[in-house]
């Protein structure tokens, strides 16, 4: 009883209200984009983007510019550069992304070690600080969610065909190149904006886990997208509540709830599956 009162007291704090709303919106956004990213085998791409964000932040700190201002253009440029490299180098995408993300992580850590005052903040960068989220951050995330829903809903046919087969999409009138770039830019912006709340190490979990759970539970595409998004938002809310109750770090709590949700989805999908599948 005392614990519940304590939780109620914590929840009524303005910072916690902002954190819950931020978690809900970031989780829903991650699940929404993740539902397409996972099918297009861009999971590792979002991970590489997350790690590169640390380099962007480091550059901002070194140059004395607000890292948040640097982060979005850096992430977009980085995403376009990596996309171009994957297309032109002829190397396997996962190998190339591995090179990119480990190198950018190494560069970022070296850069951060040069800035004495920032050595204590590395934990926040790696695991996020959703409790420190501001109303202005929330406004940006909400706008981004609206933009992502609008774009993906209006171009659903193009997105589905593109996910299915590039040539099929192109032959039936989908502007494949521009939709691919638009999606990658959107993913980069979402990763950049979510880094503050979620952290460099956990951002890919927000993109990948709810989408995989949604995939296990859905047989129709719109339902898959909606359930991925709902699972993303729902798990973030539950994880933050758990964090408030246990005083454990918020970002990892959310990811643990996402993982539990994935395990439940896996169990449900196996229970509902006929013995022999086609």
């Amino acid at each position: 009883m005392a614990e519940l009162q304590e939780l109620a007291a914590v929840l009524s704090q303005p910072f916690m209200e902002r954190a819950l709303l931020g978690g809900l919106l970031t989780g829903a956004l991650g699940g929404l984009l993740g539902s397409f990213a996972v099918l297009r085998q861009l999971s590792f791409f979002s991970d590489a983007l997350g790690h590169s964000a640390l380099l962007g932040i480091s550059i901002g700190i070194l140059l004395g510019i607000n890292p948040t201002v640097v982060l979005i253009p850096f992430a977009v440029l980085f995403a376009l550069m990596v996309n171009g490299l994957v297309a032109r180098s002829g190397l396997p995408a996962d190998a190339l992304l591995n090179i990119v993300y480990s190198s950018s992580l190494a560069l970022a850590v070296v850069a951060l070690s040069l800035v004495e005052s920032y050595s204590g903040g590395i934990q926040q960068l790696l695991f996020g600080d959703i409790l420190g989220i501001r109303w202005s951050d929330l406004a940006v995330i909400a706008l981004l969610l609206i933009a992502a829903i609008t774009y993906l809903a209006l171009s659903l046919r193009a997105q589905v065909l593109l996910t299915l087969n590039n040539d099929l999409a192109g032959a039936f009138g989908v502007s494949t190149q521009s939709h691919r770039l638009a999606f990658i830019i959107l993913l980069a912006v979402v990763v950049a904006v979510s880094i503050k709340a979620v952290g460099v190490l956990l951002i890919s979990a927000f993109v990948v886990i709810p989408a995989c759970a949604g995939r296990l539970l859905s047989r129709r595409f719109p339902l898959y997208v909606l359930s991925s998004s709902a699972l993303g938002g729902g798990c973030a809310l539950l994880g933050l509540l758990g964090s408030g109750l246990t005083d454990l770090p918020s970002g990892p709590c959310v990811v643990i709830v996402q993982f539990a949700g994935f395990l439940v989805a896996l169990l449900l999908s196996q229970l509902g599956r006929p013995a022999a599948t086609a």
């Binding site: 996972v38 085998q41 809903a153 032959a171 009138g173």
Partner: protein, 280 residues
């Protein structure tokens, strides 16, 4: 080559597809060189040639999926832009059946949903627009391709033959004029291949499609196509199949290792290929 190549005769009216002096580079190599041909309305044309002859590259360039190095492509009288752009009214008249449909990550998409996306025109639109009309068109397309009971199946749950018929349903779900197939029967076993071929013939007649299909089945080409284009980077011969597929021309196209073989369904076929092997 025995005699000059004919580049397809248009029997009347404007050609549906007109390719002129088309050259295409792929992976740094000139894969298609100065190819010209025309497809007359409601005709069935086969594109044949050895592996690596540029057949798929030619189809991709005609669809606007690959940039052209030189030459022009006109579809229904409209010239294709340098980046493959066509007016939407023309683009909606084109259908395509790829060799393989990669199901990335086992996409959770039912067959009926997939066919529904074939009904919708390109461009931004609300996902729920035109619901009833779309459902009717999808149901008809599924029925006509023998996929009537499969609408709620996931694409990943379909067999190879069902998936190929589903692709035909995707083309069929709205009226179109030009259908391009890139080795559509590849990977199908004998009965599935026969069924697909018969379905394609029936639908072509009913819909009045003009067809360009890449094929290795020369017997099928002889028996059902109006025109054949023999490609090995350049157009080596073209015309009516009985004329263009003479032994001398085939030997020139494929090399001397063209071997007769018998399919397991006991039709005497001529197979062209790079392998010196006898079947049956």
């Amino acid at each position: 080559m025995s005699g000059p190549p004919t580049h397809g005769e248009v029997l009347g009216g404007e050609p549906v597809l007109e390719v002129s002096e088309l050259s295409v580079r792929r992976d740094g190599q000139l894969a298609v060189e100065k190819v010209s041909f025309q497809l007359a309305r409601e005709t069935d044309t086969a594109l044949v040639g050895p592996n690596g002859a540029g057949k798929s590259t030619l189809v991709a360039a005609v669809l606007g999926l690959l940039p052209r190095q030189s030459g022009t492509v006109r579809i229904l009288g409209q010239a294709m832009g340098p980046s493959g752009a066509l007016p939407r009214s023309v683009r909606t008249q084109i259908a395509y059946v790829p060799q393989r449909l990669e199901l990335q990550g086992r996409i959770p998409l039912t067959l009926a949903e997939f066919i529904g996306h074939g009904f919708d025109p390109p461009g931004p639109r609300l996902p729920w627009a035109g619901g009833r009309q779309r459902r009717q068109a999808v149901a008809q397309a599924l029925e006509r391709t023998g996929c009537g009971g499969l609408g709620e199946r996931l694409l990943s749950e379909l067999s190879g033959g069902q998936l190929k018929r589903a692709l035909l349903a995707f083309c069929l779900v709205r009226p179109r004029q030009l259908l391009l197939l890139d080795e559509a029967q590849a990977g199908l076993d004998g009965p599935s291949g026969e069924r697909f071929h018969q379905l394609l013939l029936d639908l072509r007649r009913q819909e009045g499609w003009t067809v360009l299909q890449v094929s290795h089945d020369l017997e099928m080409v002889r028996s059902s196509c109006d025109q054949v284009l023999c490609l090995n980077r350049r157009l080596r011969c073209s015309g009516r199949p009985d004329h263009a597929l003479s032994p001398a021309r085939l030997a020139e196209l494929y090399g001397s290792n063209v071997v007769p073989y018998h399919h397991h369904h006991h039709h005497n076929h001529q197979r062209a290929g790079n392998r010196n092997e006898h079947h049956g």
